[in-house]
């Protein structure tokens, strides 16, 4: 479904992603793990068209999407939920969600997706008239995820979705990921919460210093000594 071929990305003269290639299949939940500054966010932003790669290719459903503007990717069914959230702070929760369905023409479909998201995150339903800027950090995170799902994407990329959430809401988010998996939505997830992530992901890539250092099924990686030491904190 998504394929990266030898992707190199940087900021100005500083290159941070080196020769990254990976393949993600339809319906998979794939995690990208790595220490702070490994280049995970940079990789996702490049796929989403927020950053342009120096070289390399990005294929989505066989189509070359390298350098395509971000606004067109949503129409192809690719939704990116950034760690900065990028919410519309002076809009209500409801308006933010409706903006998530901006590309949909059919009002009935928008309504259906809205009900779906509100069921996933009941908290958002309680707060539908509140301005996004006045929500708590965790609520904003749920709103960002909800907004990203409003277009019923075929593939979702989540950057640290559980960041700043209380344990109960971390569960809510991971339940949402499980639900997406049941619905055969492809999910790419970047997380520091490695344990839980490996329990929902089918496969994972490990990024170190801008390169893919390892890849494998979640079970394999969870047993790997290096991963256990570096990412799970188990000696």
């Amino acid at each position: 479904m998504l394929e990266l071929q030898n992707l190199n990305v940087g900021y100005g003269y500083l290159q941070v992603v080196w020769d990254v290639s990976l393949k993600i299949h339809q319906g998979e939940v794939v995690a990208i793990l790595g220490l702070n500054g490994a280049g995970k966010t940079t990789t996702l932003k490049t796929i989403a068209g927020v950053l342009t790669p120096k070289s390399g290719k990005i294929l989505f459903n066989g189509q070359d999407i390298t350098g395509l503007p971000t606004c067109q990717l949503v129409k192809l069914g690719l939704s990116f939920i950034p760690e900065e959230r990028n919410l519309f702070t002076a809009m209500t929760v409801r308006e933010n969600l409706l903006m998530g369905a901006y590309i949909l023409k059919d009002n009935a479909e928008v309504k259906r997706n809205l009900d779906y998201v509100l069921e996933l995150f009941p908290r958002l339903a309680e707060r539908s008239k509140q301005l996004a800027g006045t929500m708590s950090g965790g609520e904003r995170q749920m709103l960002a995820i909800g907004r990203g799902l409003m277009s019923k994407p075929k593939m979702v990329m989540l950057d640290e979705p559980s960041m700043g959430l209380s344990p109960k809401n971390v569960l809510v988010v991971f339940d949402a990921v499980k639900k997406l998996r049941e619905e055969k939505v492809t999910v790419v997830i970047v997380e520091q919460n490695v344990n839980t992530t490996l329990s929902v992901a089918d496969r994972a890539y490990v990024m170190e210093q801008g390169r893919i250092a390892m890849e494998g099924s979640s079970e394999e990686l969870a047993k790997d000594d290096h991963v256990r030491k570096m990412y799970l904190g188990i000696a």
Binding site: C71, P82, N86, L98, M150
Partner: protein, 296 residues
């Protein structure tokens, strides 16, 4: 009603137009982060377009005003596509300063273009409707009422458009978070062009419906430009709701000083008051946080 009533009525009539001008200026600042110093020239174009539609082509008042608005929208779209769009593609560095200089250039070109095409003589109409109506002790020309009504209707439609339609919501979303907007599928280039066109259209509406009061001439845009900047500085930049209130406040300030100190003093007094307000509240009366670009 007495003198107080007169002042209030005059202030509201004046302020309505300022609000209309300031709304467009504020919109472009909020959405595109451009401090537009060519805003007055679109007011000027509106006046000329209305003049020619009304006198040369003998169209009625309403069609003339509407045509002026549409033509100015088109000129705005061309300016955006021709100048700001290429600049945005090439670099975002020093955007605020570069676009500011660019708008100064646009202003000079439009002023001199108008001089070249239409000469520097005044082109006015004696009246759109003629007649007056009496409000309290005052006789108010119908044309003033018309201008005010157009301003109110345009502002109301525009606010509804921004708040209730999908496209309006998209414009607002771009002003809040460009990345967020493009992530949900909003085409930033389209929104920028549309926004600039709409802003020009609002300025032109003001120029067109004030034609019987101020005839068209090439540099007529300077005064309304300054007035709309007063408003924005006063209430804080990029805050649409506040710029409507701000228009009325500036109208009131000017009218009071006009009545109290005589003609010629209104700019001095209103500027002095604005300076004092800014000393106390540097971000403007309604400014909460600094404008997103002020730090750059």
């Amino acid at each position: 009603m007495g003198e107080f009533g007169d002042i209030l009525v005059t202030a509201v009539l004046r302020g309505g137009i300022y609000a209309l001008m300031a709304l467009g200026l504020s919109l472009v600042f909020g959405v595109m982060n451009i401090a537009n110093f060519a805003h007055g020239e679109f007011y000027m174009l509106g006046a000329y377009f209305a003049y020619f539609s009304f006198t040369t082509f003998k169209l009625g008042v309403i069609p003339s005003v509407l045509i002026a608005a549409l033509l100015a929208f088109a000129v705005g779209v061309i300016v955006e596509r021709g100048l700001f769009y290429p600049l945005r593609k090439r670099s975002k560095k020093n955007w605020l300063m570069n676009t500011f200089l660019l708008t100064l250039g646009v202003s000079i070109i439009l002023q001199n273009g108008a001089k070249l095409m239409w000469g520097s003589r005044y082109r006015g109409v004696t009246s759109y409707f003629g007649g007056t109506i009496s409000v309290g002790t005052m006789q108010i020309p119908n044309d003033r009422i018309f201008a005010f009504a157009v301003a109110c209707i345009a502002i109301a439609i525009f606010v509804l458009f921004l708040n209730k339609t999908k496209l309006g919501r998209a414009i607002r979303s771009v002003s809040m978070d460009e990345t967020g907007a493009s992530l949900v599928g909003v085409n930033l280039n389209m929104i920028h062009t549309l926004t600039f066109g709409l802003s020009c259209m609002l300025a032109a509406l003001a120029g067109a419906c004030l034609l019987p009061l101020t005839p068209a001439f090439p540099v007529m845009g300077i005064n309304p430009l300054y007035k709309s900047w007063f408003v924005l500085i006063l209430v804080g930049m990029g805050n649409l709701g506040a710029s409507i209130v701000g228009g009325l406040i500036v109208g009131l300030l000017e009218t009071i000083s006009y009545f109290q100190f005589g003609a010629g003093w209104q700019d001095v007094i209103s500027l002095a008051v604005i300076i004092v307000i800014l000393l106390v509240k540097p971000n403007g009366i309604f400014g909460k946080k600094g404008v997103k670009s002020a730090a750059e």
